[in-house]
Amino acid sequence: MALMTEGVDVHAVLQAQRTATLRSLQQLTRLKAGADEIADAAWLLVLESMIFQAEAEVRWLDHCEARVSVLPAPRATPAPAPERAELPS
């Protein structure tokens, strides 16, 4: 959506999302670090599923950035022509 919206810095949007996802990944990792391998096995599987999803999102964001960086710079959109005054016929 950022790519299709005029005047948006796509790299900044991607970075903001990457930072947010990393924060979430940090929280999930902290929860994982505090879990017991045996007693919390089911909880760990759920956490790891969420970790893999967050990691996949970061990879996708990296991929988006690589793809966006090879696109040509957007051309300045010409300003709309001023409405011409009706000429008397």
């Binding site: 990457r18 930072t19 990393l22 940090q26 990792t29 902290r30 505090g34």
Partner: protein
Amino acid sequence: MSVLELRDVIRVHGDGETAVHALRGVSLTVDPGELVAVMGPSGSGKSTLLNLAGGLDEPTSGSVLVEGTDLNGLSRTQLAAVRRRSVGYVFQDFNLIPALTAAENVALPRELDGVRMREVRRESAAALEEVGLSELADRFPDELSGGQRQRVAIARALVGPRRLVLADEPTGALDSRTGEWVLRLLRTRCDAGAAGVLVTHEARHAAWADRVVFLRDGAMVDETGRATPVEALLQ
């Protein structure tokens, strides 16, 4: 006092039209007990930052302080002494000396520092115990698995009074489970009071850090801030 401080560090390779701006005014502090991950695409300046932090390279301008000592202006001998006493490195390919046992590899920086042999042996044994490798102290690197070698490298990085560990893609040569083991160990060592800087391109590994900073084209573009304590997450 911060264990590592980078103040407005600029590093330019070459000059004139061919000059490459590897770092553009980067500032970073790492406190005792803190693990900071550095992420960014290839060529973003991650390894340059690590080399400057460890005194392996000099900034074009700005300052690098390790445990309060400004590395600028130190003689080669003084710089080598700071590196031996304060800084430990963990590399992707372990960089252990094949002709030395695990215990001897860990002991080497302290021996070079002129510490007495009895003290060196005690410190080496303690460092190997901290990484859970006491029983393998007499093995040579080629008799150890990749994960065990990296644990030896971490023990060597933090032997004796060293408090700063700089890790450059330490899990790059390891499978995912062993890599996680290494990250858990780095985390534990930092929780015990060391300071760490971890360069990685793996988000899953960076997430073990207290803070993640992002480099792009030599500049720090963002950071996650300190991670929420786990107690707050479970409320």
